[in-house]
Every structure is written in structure tokens, then in C-alpha cells.
């Protein structure tokens, strides 16, 4: 799957606000299948907006976004694109396991055992039946990562996924993600405030 953007600019930002970068207002930017991208920018530059445009959650942009020559649409969310949202979008009234199963029910991609072993990897298995509202932000971030892995995808979108994780947990997460992405032969687009190469062979794009 190839993602191509052309002359992209959030339509709620003025030309002055959007300084020409590696992405916005570029004639053409292509995210090649299977490749890893780090999108680096300071706060407020429109990182989340960019991922929302690619995921089809927002259409407030000028220019074009093409996924395999088609507009982004909701049907991609089950098999082509997976997304770890910056605001996580978990459901506090459900337990940890229910939050993950809510997604897995749609795709049937993982078994309960596989999910449990992923939780165990993060040291969260004991929280399995706990309501999500009792978890810390860092713990929730890890739940959101596991949930995003419960589906087939060609590209994994990660919006500041490690912002509340300590270095040890970041390492666990990076290993888990690298393994799962490799298994799926997929690509990755990660946004971050820091210019840090979490994965090998990451292209860095400045926003």
C-alpha cells in the first residue's frame, strides 16, 4: 500500500503558519510500502492533523491525500491502517481486556492467549480485568498500543506513542512493534517531539 500526499496543508492554518517543510506544501510526498518514517516536529505544527488526514478522520485540508489512488475512508480502518491515537481513545468504562477485545472482535485477528502474552510483555497482565479508569496514563498508552496491533495493517500510524513511557518500557514497546510490523510486512509512520531513531532504517521528515 502506498500513501501519496500532494500540496497538503491544513485548511485552518494560514500559509504563514505552515512553513514549507518535508511534508506540508510539498509538491508530492510518498510513503512507500514497508518503509519506516519518523515525523519530527515541535508541538502545534500539525503532526496529529497529518495522521488524522491519512487515517480519514479529518478532511480539513487543502491538497490531496491518496491511499492506493483513493481517498482515505473508514473501511481502511479494519485491514489496512492501524492507529495509536495521541489521546488514546480508550473507553474508561470498560476493563483493559474489554478495550482490546472491542477492537479484536471486529477483526478476529488475535486470540485471547496472544493478547494476554502481549499484556504480559508490558507487565500488565495482572490489570487484565481492571477497569481502564484505574490505570495510569503510561499504562493506558501501552494498552492502546496492544489494541492497535489487533488487526491486519499495511501501515501503522503512531502519534507520540511513547510520550508517557519510561526508557525500559519504550524498549519493550519498540521491540514488540518491530516484531509485529515485520510479521505483517507493514510500514510505519511515527510522530515525535524528539528526533530519535527508535527503529532501524527510519527516514526522518521534518514538519
Amino acid at each position: 500500500m502506498q500513501i501519496r500526499i500532494q500540496q497538503l496543508k491544513p485548511n485552518y492554518m494560514s500559509e504563514e503558519e505552515v512553513l514549507p517543510s518535508d511534508i506540508y506544501l510539498k509538491e508530492s510526498v510518498v510513503f512507500e510500502p514497508g518503509a519506516f518514517y519518523l515525523i519530527h516536529a515541535a508541538s502545534g505544527k500539525g503532526k496529529s492533523s497529518l495522521l488524522n488526514f491519512l487515517y480519514g478522520l479529518s478532511f480539513q485540508y487543502d491538497g490531496s491525500v491518496r491511499i492506493d489512488n483513493a481517498e482515505p475512508n473508514p473501511s481502511l480502518r479494519l485491514s489496512r491502517l492501524s492507529y495509536v491515537f495521541q489521546d488514546l481513545r480508550l473507553f474508561p468504562e470498560l476493563t483493559v481486556m474489554e478495550n482490546i477485545l472491542l477492537k479484536n472482535q471486529l477483526t478476529g485477528y488475535k486470540t485471547i492467549g496472544e493478547i494476554e502474552s502481549l499484556l504480559d510483555e508490558f507487565g500488565l497482565l495482572y490489570k487484565c480485568a481492571a477497569p481502564l479508569s484505574t490505570l495510569s496514563l503510561g499504562q493506558r498508552q501501552r494498552v492502546a498500543i496492544i489494541r492497535a496491533l489487533c488487526q491486519p495493517f499495511n501501515f501503522l500510524l503512531l502519534d507520540e506513542p511513547f510520550s508517557h513511557l519510561d526508557p525500559a518500557n519504550i524498549e519493550i514497546a519498540v521491540n514488540m512493534l518491530a516484531r509485529e510490523i515485520k510479521k505483517q510486512d507493514a510500514g510505519l509512520i511515527l510522530t515525535s517531539l524528539e528526533r530519535e531513531n527508535y527503529f532501524e532504517e527510519m527516514s526522518v521528515l521534518e514538519l
Binding site: L57, P74, R77, L78, Y83, F85, R89, L90, F91, E93, L94, E98, L101, L102, K103, Q105, L106, T107, R147, Q151
Partner: protein, 395 residues
Amino acid sequence: MLKKLLRKSLTASQVITYGITLLVGVLILLLTVQLYVDLAPMLRQNSSVFKKNAVVVSKNISVLKSMDKGKVAFSDKETTRLKEQEFVKGIAFFRSSRFHVAAYIEQSEDIPLFYTDLFFESVPDDYLDISTSDWKWNPDSNFIPIIIPEAYLNLYNFGFAESQNLPVISPGLISRISFNLKLSGNGKTDHYVGRIVAFTEKINSILVPDDFLQWANQYYAYEEELRPGRLLVEFENPSDEQIARFFHENNYSINQNELEMSRLFFFFRLIFTAFLFIALIIVILSLFYIILSVKLILERKKETILNLAAIGYNYKQIASHYQRLVSVTSIVAIALSCLASLLIRQQHVIYFRQFFEITTNPAVTIWVSIGLMVILLSAYNVVVRRTVRRNTGQG
């Protein structure tokens, strides 16, 4: 999980309130419609010697009019206007005899000597529902068939005969008695034989065949033709309430019995419409109530719905959660109303059968129920789906 996430949405009390309101509304609606269908044919019925749907119309006679006979007659303008009314199918004029008529019987054992001046009137045969072969005038014979009001016979039997100690006469007997008629005018006098061949309740006149009177008027008449004072009016539907209104407004007199049904039917329809209106209001309000409740809940759950859509849930999957419960409640409520309506109808049919025949069937109740189900369910489900779709940003 989806259930857990979206539950506590509609409370039981909201669903029950909706169900009961809908049940009551639909029950009233079904009973009203079924009752109307059952009773309407009975009220429309109209039997008479005269052609169905035809009545005699005349002007009311007042003191002033009694001075001037012309005012009692219908002018051309008036008859044209009457003809133009949409409830009028056709009108016919009464033809009056314009010569001298006398009836007499020579003395016999049973019947006393009898001599009286008479008049004749006629109406087109189309307007009479008389099948007897006697009702025919043959120019070669001197026999004239006559129809008289039944009231005349009653007047004789129960009034005159009683007081004068005379024998009573049955309709069958009188039909076998011939009497003599003397017609004179225009300098001619001829004798004929007359016989009463039928009785009518509808019209106070002595009727002879129209073709005979037409001929006789030409033959014996010595006066110009008068304007018709009485008209026969045939209606499209005698229970049309416009009829009573029109005749009242124009101060025309019409046989009251004829309008009795029309009035009854009018009030029946008025009550029916009122009930139908109330029932529809209840049904519509119940639908509004449940739609409003669901819309409020969807608004409260907006973020949850948005997040569900973000992780890949289709708006239809989310909406179906809100569609199912209310749809099932609607179907159960309408089905119960239908059943109750059929049971109640069974009872009222038993009651009504004591008085008259009921030939209609309860199919209308079932069809109206099905129709209501389709309309209510589509309205509700379309609104819910559209709202959820908007909330998920997938619209």
C-alpha cells in the same frame, strides 16, 4: 462489549412509556377505523319504491309566497344551479296535469258512491323503481295506471273508514278495484278506467305514467305550462353532508327522512374523524417522544460513538444497538393493539348482529396495523441511523 458501552442508554421507563402510549394510540386508531368500516355500509343503505338516491325537493311555502304561485316554482337559474352541484347526479321535473280530472265509482254493495276531483302528476320512469307490468300506458286502451301515497290509504282506513263506519281496504284489495276517470278540458271530455297499481312512501302525489300525461296535457290543456314546483333530485351519495347544508342554505324543503341518514352519517363521520385525529396525535407524539429520547442519548454518548467509529466501527453497527430495542417494542405494541382490537371487534359484532347484518371483515385492522408498523419503523430507524451517522462523522 458494545452493549456494555452503550447500555444504560434508554431506561426501561422510557421504553415502557413509549410502548404503552403507542399501544393506546394504535388501539384507538384500529377500533375507530374498523368500526367505521363495519357501520358505514349500514348507514349508507337506503330503500324505497323510488329510485335509490332520489328525493323530492320543493320550496318552503311562506305566507308571502302563497300569494304568488310563481315564487313557489323553481326558476331556470335555480334549477341550473342545482344541477351544477357536485353531489347532484341528475334532476327531473314533475309534470302536472293542466286539465280537469274527476274520479268516480258507481254504487255497489261494498263500496259507496264516490266522486272526487283529482289531479295527476308524473315523473320520468327512470326515477321510479316499479317493476309491475301494469305501469304502462297504451294509447289504444282507456286504462290508466295510478300510484298513490301509502299515507292516503292509511288516512282512509284508520281515519275516515273508522269514523264513518265504512269497511277498511287492504293494498291488495284496492289494487283490484277499478274506478272511472273523467278527463275534460279544451272542450273535450272523455272517460277512462283507472286502477291503483302501487303505493309510495316517498312522494305526496298521485302519479300516472309520464308519456300519458304528456299526451293528455297536449290534448286537454287550456293553460300555458307552469314552472315546476317540485323537482326530483338524484344524488351521487345521499349521505353526503353537503346536501343538508345546501338545502338549508337555499331554504328548499326536502323530505326529512331522506336527510336523516345523511345527518346521522355526518355526525358519525365527525366523531370518527375526531377519534382518528386523537389517535394519530397519540401515535405521532409517542414516536416523537422516543426519537427525542434516543437523540438525547446519542448526544450524551457522542464521544463514545466517535471513538468507536475511530477504531473501525461502522455507523450501522452502532445504530443497530439503538434500533433493535425500540423496533421490537414497536412491533410488540402494535401487534398487541391489533390483537386487542380484533377481540373487541368480535364482541361488538356479536352485539350489532342483534340489530342488523354485518358483512364486512376485520382485514382492515390487520392492514392498518401492518401499514403503521412499516411507517413507524422506517421513520424511527431512518432518523436514528442518520443521527448516528452524523455523530460518527461518516455522513
